[in-house]
């Protein structure tokens, strides 16, 4: 199990480090909202899911996309704006999608995909399926009205879905406590009668608790479930750089999160041989994905008008 977790964590981290490395060349023609530091949430959750479960994300969805099984080559090609990208260059980094692997889309407008997850879950329930839906959003999403409307509806209809609030404390540069009177997002879900808990930055704990919820939903227990996963964004809101110089947060605030790096933690749980094998396989895969993106053609001009209607 730890090898699987490590592979996924390491892969996400390294993909994004490669994005950072390539970014100054301007070959990636898309704003990137990096997940570095937040990988543990996506990996802990998605390792508890099956291929036929689906996830909905936000503009910061590289980690969710990869953790759920989204195609890496198609993701990098999408960032390059190439015809071989997951959306043929029409999505960019903010709308990654891989429907065949249950990555059902992501929105740049905060909170927007939360009700999509509820609607998808409604359809699953109507059709008596035992798959589940996971909605990923941030603490900023919990500012939005649609979050409460969706929570209300999901609770009302007892939908087979899991709310994952990735609380990294900041909406762009504004701290949660400048936007919300109390840091009690999980508590708010309980008011709707939804079982909710807050989980520290611990990939194994996330997996264990979300896994239990998934199991309950598959067994036909009423949903939804709610998890507020505490995490921390290491890089700037958008772009490849650090932003501690801006002054809205301090390096000291980040230190404990960086010390608790779940990538390093899982690396330490593996035998050296096993770890090195995983790393070299992942490195080769990443190299191949960037080469694929580099070599792929841009979409033909005729693509401008395709995909509007059937």
């Amino acid at each position: 199990m730890h090898d699987r977790f490590y592979r996924s964590l390491y892969r996400i981290r390294r993909v994004e480090e490669e994005i950072i490395r390539v970014y100054p060349t301007d070959k990636i023609k898309s704003p990137v909202h990096l997940s570095i530091g937040q990988e543990a949430v996506s990996v802990g959750v998605c390792e508890a899911l099956r291929a036929d479960d689906v996830v909905f994300g936000s503009y910061r969805s590289h980690a969710v996309y990869l953790a759920k099984g989204g195609d890496l080559k198609k993701m990098i090609a999408e960032l390059y704006g190439k015809a071989t990208g997951c959306a043929k260059g029409k999505a960019g980094s903010m709308h990654l999608v891989d429907a065949a692997h249950g990555v059902m889309g992501a929105s740049a407008v905060v909170g927007t995909t939360i009700p999509h997850a509820a609607g998808y879950a409604y359809a699953l329930k109507l059709r008596r399926k035992d798959s589940v839906v996971v909605s990923f959003f941030g603490d900023g999403g919990a500012d939005e009205g649609v979050f409460y409307e969706s929570l209300n509806f999901a609770a009302l209809k007892k939908l087979p879905m899991i709310f994952i609030c990735e609380n990294n404390s900041y909406a762009i540069h504004t701290h949660q406590l400048c936007r919300q009177p109390t840091a009690n997002i999980a508590e708010r879900a309980r008011v709707f009668g939804v079982p909710a808990e807050r989980i520290e930055d611990d990939v194994l704990r996330v997996h264990e608790r979300v896994g239990a919820a998934v199991k309950a939903l598959r067994a036909g227990e009423p949903g939804p479930f709610f998890f507020e996963c505490l995490t921390y964004r290491w890089k700037e809101h958008v772009g490849p750089n650090d932003d501690f110089h801006l002054g809205y947060r301090t390096r000291e605030e980040a230190d404990p999160w960086m010390k608790n790096d779940q990538v390093k933690r899982l690396a330490g749980l593996l035998e050296a041989d096993q770890r090195r094998r995983i790393e070299s396989e992942v490195e080769a895969e990443i190299q191949a994905a960037f080469a694929f993106a580099e070599e792929s053609p841009f979409p033909d001009g005729s693509e401008l008008f395709t995909d509007m209607f059937k």
């Binding site: 999608v97 429907a99 409604y122 359809a123």
Partner: protein
Amino acid sequence: MDRTISYVEAVREATDQEMERDASVILFGLDVDDPKAIQGTTRGLAQKYGPERVFGTPLSEDAMTGVAIGMSLAGLRPIHVHIRMDFLMLAMNQLINIAAKSRYMYGGQVHLPLVVRSMIGKSWGQGAQHSQALHSFFMHVPGLKVAAPTTPYDAKGCLIEAIRDDDPVMYVEHRILHFQKGPVPEPTYTVPPGKARITVKGKDVTLVGISYMQVECLRAQRYLESGGIQAEVIDPIWLSPLDGETIAESVRKTGRLCVVDNGWMTCGAAAEIVAQVTERLQGAREVRVRRMGFAPVTCPPTPSLENLFYPNARTIASAAYDLVKGSAQGWLPEERTDLREIEFRGPF
């Protein structure tokens, strides 16, 4: 085509027949399952198809539109009903940023077979927030189709077409049209987008009436007849995609175009139709044009002001008369009570 039913019954029958045919069709919205059943358009459907496929919702237009999007991603074909078009303003993020864009921004990986029904109000003091016709907002955005059927025949055919469409359709109903009766075949049929209907043939001026204003244009045509003018009347039926060709061909013949919208004129459907026609005919035909629509103010509830807010058959006839004569004639026909009850008749 002997059977005559109301617009309300046509909408209900289309929904019923499609729900019967296809188990993936589901219906929801505020009050669709209550005793009034959205003017009767959803009557009996909750009982027939059960509370999982027909249900009233929380007052959450934003999330419920997102829920409809999620359902359609999962392969359902939701019909989301809004008893007032004004309430769609709460759902604009989902409609514009997601429904219109998903197929494109996800590179064709997904599609959203979604119908959004909404109603426009008029009279009895509907006022500022129960009267707005905002179809032009949706015409503006690529990725949405917009139907505004006028007759019971088109109400049924457009709704079936919308339900079977694999992409989002905004289906716009005018509350006053709900009372109209007309011939409607019982078997299912579709009225697909891209084809306007010439409802009265004429040679002197083209009147295009959108939604309820089609009724006023039909009355105006009769007034004009008494003034010696043969108006051609066109119902666009689908506003997006719009059949500009049929309208332009009519104007090529008449040389005069009056577009009467059930909405405001600035950046509106009438402006779009006039622009499309003049682009097509410039250099080939000299054309005189006129837009009519809501007065450029908020809709007042008091009848004395509300009557001035809307175009009506007489003001339309007067404007069309001026177009034909080439200048302001000050002609306003006397009101005729025999035109009040124009109903829709076939054949189509």
